[in-house]
Amino acid sequence: LYELREERTMTPQVFTNLLSNILYEKRFGPYFAEPVVAGLDEKGSPYLATMDLIGAIETTKDFVVSGTCDGNLYGMCETLYKPDLGKEELFETLAQALLASVDRDALSGWGGVVHIITKEGVMSRELKGRQD
């Protein structure tokens, strides 16, 4: 509807706001989802945001995490992150952070998917992890 009315694609900031409103609508019977938003805005700069299950937004410049092993992920990302990594390096960093974190969580695992978003497009790769 937005795209029909505005005749342009939604920027990540607007999308994050929309998502937050949708979640807060269900304040007293929430969706059990804690989303993470990642994208490039109209100028091409990266945008990251996360929300809790009732839509409280947090935007950061470095990384956002969410899930049953979020403690593990915070530890991994905090240590491995460096600003201004290249595409391949960022993929490696993300993959290591994800795999190491989910291996220490009984409720997560069975592989992973990494999407690297650039102006040219989205590069998606599947990770093979421990199948337990």
């Binding site: 403690g71 593990n72 915070y74 530890g75 905090e78 240590t79 993959a95 190491a100 291996d103 220490r104």
Partner: protein, 306 residues
């Protein structure tokens, strides 16, 4: 105590007596949530009124339900927390917890001929910092160090007990205890208090009799295992996956190589910077010890004090 004869009920509440002689009458203070249960005939004795004194008096004699008849004071003898200390009616007990979490994170890593053990130096209680300079590492022998996070009083007591047992051992065997023996003794000492445990999350680090690095992980009741590394305390979830990746080389395709003690110390410092950022109970400084067959080296590394 819950059974009150219908005669008594009559005089107090002026409600008609129940024709059923087997009816039990119940009078009690009930919080809103327990009121429904009581109305349905379930016996319930509230132990802690966590709803802060919003009580109603309910009496049910099997036939008639009298609510809030106003004969008994509601919340007037309660203190700020809304708990009646047994003065008025029911013996409300305040839940006393013998445990308190004083915070902290410990990390130990074993190497070829050394072991590194580190712990932050912050002591906290709730949101308050009690001290920025308390050591969580305790050398048990020249070759073995115990690091413990958890409840400080339990940790101190555990250490006293271990020190005494080790003195007795040294006296009987005419030599200091070897690290694997210390590990076993700590496990046994913890299990001794299986049904009222020491609130201590331990890591034991040292060199064994062959000179190789040894690290043992424990749970609160004495289950232990020799592992390449161990992290425990409030920041353990931030540190363990990192150690899996960097020390055990999991999910990595490049070749694993033995790390030098100095490299491991740098990794430990990075790890504690991370834990200090993301865990409120970890910070101030990290005390790092490198244990080798010829002695123990110490270092104090400053962290953010926020």
């Amino acid at each position: 105590r819950r059974k009150i004869s219908s005669k008594k009920l009559q005089s107090r509440n002026q409600t008609p007596t129940s024709p059923n002689p087997h009816a039990t009458t119940m009078t009690s203070f009930l919080s809103a949530t327990a009121a429904v249960r009581s109305r349905n005939g379930e016996k319930c004795l509230p132990i802690h009124n966590s709803e802060g004194g919003a009580t109603i008096s309910v009496s049910f004699d099997g036939q008639n339900l009298a609510i809030g008849t106003g004969k008994y004071p509601t919340a007037s003898y309660h203190d700020d927390v809304g708990i009646d200390h047994g003065i008025t009616q029911a013996p409300w007990e305040r839940r006393f917890s013998p445990y308190e979490f004083n915070g902290g994170t410990t990390l130990a890593i074993s190497g070829k001929d050394y072991a590194v053990v580190a712990a932050d130096t912050r002591l906290s209680s709730g949101y308050e910092i009690l001290s920025r300079n308390i050591s969580k590492l305790h050398p048990l022998t020249e070759k073995c160090v115990l690091g413990s996070a958890g409840c400080k009083t339990d940790v101190d007591q555990l250490r006293s007990v271990l020190d005494i047992k080790m003195k007795v051992y040294a006296h009987n065997h005419r030599k200091p205890m070897a690290t694997p023996s210390v590990a076993q003794m700590l496990g046994n000492t913890l299990y001794y208090k299986r049904f009222f445990p020491y609130y201590a999350f331990n890591v034991l680090a040292g060199v064994d009799s062959e000179g190789k690095g040894a690290v043992y992980s424990y749970d609160a009741i004495g289950s232990f295992e020799r592992t390449p590394f161990s992290a425990s305390g409030s920041g353990q979830s931030f540190l363990i996956p990192l150690m899996d990746n960097v020390i055990s080389h999991k999910n990595r395709l490049d070749e694993k190589r033995d790390l030098e003690a100095e490299e491991v110390v740098e990794i430990v410092k990075d790890a504690f910077i991370t834990a200090g950022e993301r865990d409120i109970y970890t910070g101030d400084a990290v005390e790092i010890m490198i244990i080798r067959s010829d002695g123990i080296q110490k270092e104090l590394f400053q962290l953010k004090a926020d």
